[in-house]
Amino acid sequence: MKWGNDLSTFVEKFRQYLKPGYYDEFDYHWTMTIDLDRCTGCEACVVACQAENNLPIVGEKRYAQNREIKWIRIERYWEGEYPDVKMGFIPMLCQHCDAAPCEIACPVFATYHNQDGLNTQIYNRCIGTRTCAVYCPYEVRYFNWFTYTWDEPLEQQLNPDVTVREKGVMEKCTFCIQRIRLAKDNAKDDDRRRVRDGEVVPACVQSCPTEAMAFGDSNDPEAKVSKMMKNPRGYTVLEELNTTPSIVYLKKAHAES
């Protein structure tokens, strides 16, 4: 009898373990859509993220060693040969995978799933094994190979809502969690239970001059992202890996002619 109970508790626990981040259901499910038919590869989002999230200026030498830190980067893909040559851009940032390979990697829980469906990174907890980065199929994790400093007085620009990381820790896109937090605080101050659609705008989404990106809670069927996700052009990158990303790309449309 007792054994049976224990077993069912165990099975229950185990089931729980199989769920993304062990949650039955996310409070919010922050999701981003990126319309590649709008995206021009202008990289405004890249600088926006750098400004918002205190990304370091690594310098020429370290850039040459591929030690740059860009939480969002634009990948370029050529198709065809001259003169029938085409260029495809795709912004690549942490996909906040529901089944995140990086999360099983981390021995110390420095990266884990939070209640909002975000893949979070706890800098203080990270011991720098870099396993998460090896496991991440999107290669969007960036490591602090050094402690980066800012030439005086560039440090005055640093965003006080975001920490500055030291050598030896991993970092990556947070979906601008500080902005999510602010929106939640504001909602609470207004006696609202939930954040409204459009209230959270990550820095990259905010800046995008072609309005290629949308961000919101895909648990809310009325949210803009929920509608965008239904677009027939929608897909997720490396779908075959079953990471269930929280970023839905809308494929570039091609001119019919």
Partner: protein, 740 residues
């Protein structure tokens, strides 16, 4: 800190001790009596104007504890609509740049030495004021020259008043990115000095002749927004774009079709399209016959042979262009930088005229009712004006040269010899925030506030289809012992004396701007009923912008076609250099990151991968893969690129979307000064450009030089983020598309 002068060890020790204590006690708020709008931990946003290019985007700056933290687009500004480009975001690197000039400087010894000593503002202003004052009294005011970049709005007005009160008509502007050919052609075709509003947003067929409207042309953020809308902003309707240019730009990458016509023949292609459009009977205006006879020589067959674009393509594009409800043709980039640039743009204008795109949604709107009357760009002198200035300097006709926001020593081709000409000017005054190449040649440097610390106003040009004016305001207190440019001008006026301080009575730029807006307000009270000036001012200041969206395009009448027809000419560009000696065409291009090089001192931009190539920190020369293979050139081989005007050495980059026979080089690097991030990095392709000028605009034909390349055998690592730029069949850009 003046105590240090006392020199005794004890005092110095005391000061050092004080310094170290101050370092330890990091105050949350660095003021004794903080301004009342400082609320620790709470961000405030101030609206002002971006100054990183001439588009005039409205920006909002996030301030925490008195420090600027982030720049975003001003959501209520009609140009940027809350969005911003990479350069605009990097404005914080201007403000907090470690290489800013922190106090007035005087040349220590010789111009060449580049070493400066600190002096006081009083000393500096007195030196300049008395010298100019003397010239004014002697009636030699015309020996004072003022050169600025693309100064607009209140500051431009202030400079103009200053110079005219002084009695010198030598206030000129030079900005490499100024669309001189566009202005000249529009003047000819449309009789319009001001740039029109290009309504890309509502177009459904955009034909761009070399204009990289998504990155560098006129108003990149505004057009990017428009592009997004053109593509996916309308249900069930997706606009189409075609880009004609020898080297794929960002706009070319976005286009549905990229056509690498033979360099210098893009205008001719426009005429061929016009010819075909007319032949197909798409144009039915009363002046049809005049057009037909003017366009008669440009048959598709003839144009195809010249441009290397097939007859089929010409016929098809002409049909698509004519059949689209809202088509639009624009010109810029290399198309507007040949020896016959104006003719090329006129040809594109003709195309718009014939397709009925004028004053139509999705077409071109004329915008004759700007806020404030000064027509922008009117003081741009182009290359001819700069040659004249250099000549005057060389001849000893210039005694005082004041330079602000312009870097001719770097921007002009080497053979203008601007640097050498500066040697002949007894007093060069630079109003500048940075030690760029020109500033370093100055005798006196008056350090200016950056745009984020200054008052000003601006009328965007091109506009947005209705009157708009923006206000610049300081978003943070000045960091150093610097002054706003406007305040310097006013201070100089006071030192020079005479009529100047009487006619320019404002104590500060802020007062001047406010007065200017009061005038504008008074002139427009009809439209601003029910609001007194203070309320209007306050509202404009908070919004950072004022506009009248209701009022669209004052003059909907069609421009006459006669001038256009008369101005039609075979717009094929002449190239400097003989084809047999110089088998390549040199294609310099503006980059999305540095524009003409003004962004090169900003670390965020140096570290921003070039959007098309992903290269950072350096410059390069692009070759078509097949060409490179023929020449046995691999990426990273150092090439000597040589033209009749000069030669530079840069590493080779293989670029798939480049017409064979063209060598493309980004503009922007190659600084010999301009701070730690820019100095001694890459090469400046301007050093390769032969001095050829399009007579009709006076502008430099910077895309009309031939070149040859030689593999030096050396190698240099090109730093870039791209690994392999082919998808290798992986479904990264989407599930296998049905159109592939």
């Amino acid at each position: 800190m003046q105590f240090i002068g006392a020199g005794s060890l004890g005092v110095a020790g005391g000061v050092l001790y004080g310094e170290s204590v101050q370092k330890d006690v990091e105050l949350l708020i660095p003021q004794v009596v903080p301004p009342e709008d400082y609320s620790p931990g709470v961000a405030s946003w101030y609206n002002t104007v971006c100054n990183q290019c001439s588009a005039g985007c409205g920006i909002s700056v996030r301030i925490r504890e008195g420090k600027a933290k982030k720049i975003e687009g001003n959501p209520v500004h009609p140009v940027s609509q809350g969005r911003l480009c990479a350069r605009g975001q990097a404005g914080l690197n201007v403000l907090y740049n470690p290489d800013r000039i922190r106090s007035p400087l005087q040349n220590a010894t010789s111009r060449e030495s580049g070493s400066f000593t600190e002096i006081s503002w009083d000393e500096a202003l007195t030196t300049i004021g008395s010298r100019i004052g003397r010239l004014r009294i002697e009636g030699n005011a015309s020996r004072v020259r003022l050169l600025t970049g693309s100064t607009r709005g209140g500051l431009d007005e202030l400079f103009a008043q200053f110079m005219s009160l002084l009695g010198s008509d030598h206030y000129q502007q030079y900005d490499f990115t100024d669309p001189g050919a566009l202005r000249a052609a529009n003047r000819i075709a449309f009789g319009m000095d001001q740039l029109p509003h290009y309504d890309i947003k509502h177009a459904d067929y955009l034909l761009s002749f070399g204009a990289d409207y998504l990155a560098t042309w006129l108003s990149p953020v505004h057009y990017s927004l428009a592009y997004g809308h053109l593509r996916q902003g309308r249900d069930g309707q997706r606009g189409r774009t075609v880009q004609i240019e020898p080297r794929m730009s960002l706009s070319g990458a976005a286009a549905d079709e990229w056509i690498a016509a033979r360099p210098g023949t893009e205008g001719l292609l426009a005429l061929g399209l016009a010819h075909e459009l007319l032949r197909a009977g798409s144009y039915t205006g009363s002046d049809r016959d005049e057009w037909a006879s003017a366009l008669q020589p440009y048959s598709p067959a003839m144009v195809a042979a010249e441009t290397d674009v097939s007859v089929d393509t010409i016929v098809r594009i002409a049909r698509e262009f004519a059949e689209s409800t809202a088509s639009l043709a624009i010109a810029g980039g290399a198309t507007a930088a040949g020896t016959n640039a104006v003719a090329s743009v006129v040809a594109v204008n003709a195309l718009n005229y014939l397709a009925g795109n004028l004053n139509q949604p999705g077409g071109i709107f004329f915008n004759p009712d700007p806020a404030f009357s000064a027509a922008a760009g009117s003081r741009q002198v182009g290359m001819q004006g700069m040659l004249d200035l250099a000549e005057a300097m060389e001849a000893g006709d210039v005694e005082v040269l004041i330079v602000h926001d312009s870097n001719p020593v770097h921007a002009l081709p080497e053979n203008v010899r601007f640097r050498q000409a500066m040697e002949n000017v007894p007093l060069v005054v630079a109003l500048s925030s940075f030690h760029d190449e020109t500033t370093d040649m100055a005798d006196l440097i008056l350090p200016t506030n950056t745009y984020l610390e200054s008052w000003g106003d601006d009328v965007p040009d091109p506009g947005v289809g209705f009157p708009v004016a923006s206000i610049s305001q300081p978003v943070v207190a000045p960091l150093y012992d610097t002054l706003p440019v406007g305040d310097i001008v006013l201070a100089l006026a006071r030192r020079i004396g005479g009529e100047l301080p009487i006619r320019m009575p404002w104590g500060t730029m802020e007062e001047f701007i406010k007065a200017r807006w009061r005038d504008e307000y008074d002139g427009r009270t009809a439209g601003l009923e029910g609001q007194d000036f203070d309320a209007f001012w306050q509202a404009s200041l908070e919004a950072g912008v004022w506009g009248q969206p209701g009022i669209v395009a004052g003059d909907p009448s069609m421009p006459s076609s006669a001038a256009m027809i008369a101005a039609l000419a075979n717009p094929v560009s002449e190239f400097a250099g003989d084809e047999s000696d110089y088998p390549f065409v040199l294609h310099p291009y503006l980059t999305a990151t540095f524009l003409d090089g003004r962004g090169a001192n900003l670390p965020w931009l140096q570290e921003l991968p070039d959007p098309m190539t992903s290269v950072v920190y350096g410059s390069w020369a692009e070759l078509n893969p097949a060409t490179a293979e023929d020449l046995g050139i691999r990426e990273g081989d150092v090439l000597e690129v040589e033209t009749p005007a000069g030669s530079v050495s840069v590493p080779a980059l293989i670029f798939p979307a480049l017409r064979p026979g063209v060598v493309a080089m980004p503009i922007g690097q190659g600084h010999t000064a301009y701070g730690r991030y820019a100095r001694n990095r890459g090469a400046n392709p301007m050093d390769l450009v032969s001095m050829q000028i399009d007579d009709r605009s006076g502008d430099l034909a910077w895309a009309a030089t031939r070149a040859r390349v030689r593999n030096t055998g050396e190698r240099l690592q090109i730093i870039k983020t791209d690994g392999v730029t082919r998808t290798l069949g992986r479904q990264i850009l989407g599930p296998k598309n049905d159109h592939a």
